[in-house]
């Protein structure tokens, strides 16, 4: 029994470390993405692909794309002109506006006439299909446009997620090496030091309990700053205070393995480690914590 609870406590210590590191990595990643306007660029490129007329190869119909992306309802959403999020409603309104020619005909009819004159390609084919399905009902056309755009944005979300994962992995390994966070060394230390284990478990519990308040904090950079100070105070062995001369031969190989484990662990992301921590703490307390009665 003692062995089992020791293993559990070591795991809790490790998970707490990973969680704090993952929070820091997410914050850094957001900083990088923000500085490069990554989301905004991706959204702009996705819209260009949607409105392209050469089999979706990304060559936009210049007039149509410019009219939609340059519309105050789209570009106006961001002071730099690269909004990272555009509601479907804005897109459908901007698109219908772009397709209207201001003639006396009904708006639907104007859209039809413009689409009929577009060069053959993806944009024309898609818009013509949506118009046919709407069969003269402008409201229906708007709804179809919004669904079409939302579907495209869902795919874009998938692309962004993959990017995030690789970015976190790179950041994770950089953090592991840079701060010398060696999972194996930490596990070893915790295994041998019951006082340290108890301290970490107490910290984990405190964090888990306050989670209800902090997890809703929307700003990932702010969370990262909190996590950074918590990490600095964490009593686990990390950093380059020891003698660098130790890293030779088998010791170096073990350290490398420890860093890689840490890097991959960070790349799983903060939400994953948060759930893991919560699960482990519940297991340690033998069953779920009863809801506190008031």
């Amino acid at each position: 029994m003692t062995t089992l609870s020791t293993i559990l406590d070591v795991a809790i210590g490790l998970v707490l470390t990973y969680l704090l590191l993952a929070l820091v990595a997410s914050g850094v990643q957001e900083l990088i993405a923000g500085a490069l306007h990554l989301r905004g660029r991706q959204l702009r490129d996705a819209l260009a692909r949607l409105l392209s007329h050469q089999g979706g190869k990304g060559v936009p119909d210049p007039a149509l794309f410019e009219k939609v992306f340059g519309h105050p309802l789209v570009r106006g959403l961001d002071p730099r002109g690269l909004p990272s999020y555009v509601p479907a409603r804005n897109i459908s309104l901007a698109l219908i506006d772009a397709l209207s020619d201001g003639s006396q005909a009904t708006v639907f009819s104007q859209c039809e006439q413009t689409v009929a004159k577009l060069p053959d390609g993806q944009a024309k084919a898609t818009l013509a299909t949506l118009l046919k399905a709407a069969s003269g009902d402008l409201g229906q056309f708007k709804v179809s446009l919004e669904t079409w755009y939302d579907d495209a944005m869902d795919r874009l979300g998938g692309i962004y997620k993959r990017f995030s994962h690789y970015c976190l992995l790179t950041l994770g390994i950089a953090l592991a090496v840079g701060l010398n966070v060696d999972s194996i060394r930490i596990a070893e230390t915790l295994w041998l030091d019951p006082a340290l284990r108890a301290q970490l478990v107490a910290q984990a519990q405190a964090l888990d309990e306050s989670a209800g308040n902090t997890q809703n904090s929307a700003n990932p950079v702010g969370k990262a700053q909190d996590a950074e100070s918590a990490l600095a105070a964490l009593p686990v062995p990390m950093g380059w205070h020891g003698t660098p001369g130790q890293f030779v031969g088998a010791r170096l190989a073990w350290a490398l393995l420890g860093w890689v484990i840490t890097g991959f662990a960070i790349s799983l992301g903060a939400p994953f480690w948060f759930d893991a921590l919560d699960g482990l703490l519940k297991l340690r307390n033998s069953g779920a914590k009863p809801a506190r009665s008031t």
Binding site: Q104, A105, T106, F108, S109, E112, Q113, A116, S135, G136
Partner: protein
């Protein structure tokens, strides 16, 4: 039985000192034979003159060689003139617009021949018309939308299967006469019969046509349903012909029967609601009938005073019956007037 105005030496002529009773008798006979559309007033005016000219033209030319495309007549009008020589009487030899003995004799022969069906009349035309309109309202048709057909009927005949007397005694079936030959302006090229103005190019009609398609308002209107459907299926987006207003306004959409699904109670039925929810436009002088139409196609091209306000926009209906209605009438400037009037009529509440 001979006619009252068939007397040796008697001539009825325009602006002549005619006996009004005899002229009225002549007008009734011309009406019954399908040469006069109305105006039974005992005065030998331009309308009567034109009717006599039309009859005389047919007596001279409407023989077996001049068959209409919609089937041969059972008997030709010209044969009633050529028989005169056989029985030793004088023939009609030219179109004069004057009723002489020879013309009166031909009228008499036409009236007495059972192969020449007479235009029917009604004892109580008003009652008959109301029953006819009610019967159309009750029609549940998958062929064409009833409200459109009803609006067409109002446009064609004012909803009058039988003429309702106004200052005269005309209770005959409504007949519309088309003079489609610019070279011979009095020649009648086709006739529209009854509430739906069922068109026949041959004359006289077959007796069975009079019995069924012409005299019976319900059968008459069913014919309208059929023709409207044919226009819808073949003359809006092809294959026979395309409606230019439809091509301009909905270049991409396939043919749309109704915004509601078959089985829905509103399917081909609730056209008034669609007319009401469509945006309203004004068709006024100088404005092309559709945005990219040529300048020749504008409401005042034929009628200087043309101005229609509050017309439901045909492009806003979510079905293609407004375009089919125009093709029901034809393709030129006038068809746009027809379309505007029918669409306006859709807004009118049904009589209780």
């Amino acid at each position: 039985m001979s006619v009252a105005y068939m007397q040796e030496g008697l001539t009825l002529a325009p602006n002549w000192n005619n006996d009004p009773d005899l002229v009225l008798a002549l007008q009734r006979d011309l009406r019954a034979l399908g040469y006069l559309a109305g105006g039974l007033d005992g005065r030998y005016g331009p309308g009567t003159t034109r009717a006599v000219q039309a009859l005389q033209y047919d007596l001279l030319h409407a023989d077996a060689s001049a068959r209409a495309t919609d089937g041969p007549e059972t008997v030709t009008i010209a044969s009633f003139n050529s028989i005169a020589t056989v029985v030793g009487m004088s023939r009609v030899t030219q179109v004069t617009g004057i009723v002489d003995h020879a013309t009166a004799a031909c009228i008499s022969r036409l009236l007495n021949d059972a192969r020449v069906p007479k235009i029917p009349d009604a004892a109580d035309p008003k009652d008959q018309n109301e029953r006819a309109l009610a019967a159309i309202g009750r029609q549940i048709s998958e062929i064409a939308p009833t409200p459109f057909v009803r609006a067409i009927v109002m446009q064609e005949s004012g909803g009058q299967h039988y003429h309702v007397p106004s200052g005269d005694d005309d209770k005959f079936l409504t007949v519309g006469l088309d003079h489609g030959d610019p070279m011979i302006p009095w020649r009648i090229t086709s006739r529209g019969y009854g509430i739906g103005q069922h068109t026949l190019f041959h004359h006289p009609p077959h007796p069975h046509e009079v019995e069924t398609l012409i005299a019976d308002p319900v059968r008459n209107v069913q014919h309208t349903f059929g023709i409207l459907r044919d226009k819808f299926d073949h003359f809006v987006v092809g294959p026979t012909s395309r409606a230019d207003d439809r091509t301009a306004e909905h270049p991409l959409l396939p043919l749309r029967t109704c915004r509601y699904a078959p089985g829905d109670a509103r399917y081909l039925r609730d056209c008034r609601r669609c007319a009401e929810s469509a945006r309203k436009i004004r068709l006024s002088a100088g404005v092309p009938v559709y945005p990219s139409a040529t300048l020749q196609l504008r409401p005042d091209a034929n009628y200087k005073s043309a101005d229609y306000a509050g017309v439901p926009d045909r492009a806003d209906f979510q079905c293609d019956w407004p375009y089919a209605v125009r093709r029901y009438n034809g393709a030129g400037n006038d068809s746009y007037h027809y379309q505007a009037r029918v669409l306006l009529d859709l807004l009118r509440p049904l009589a209780p």
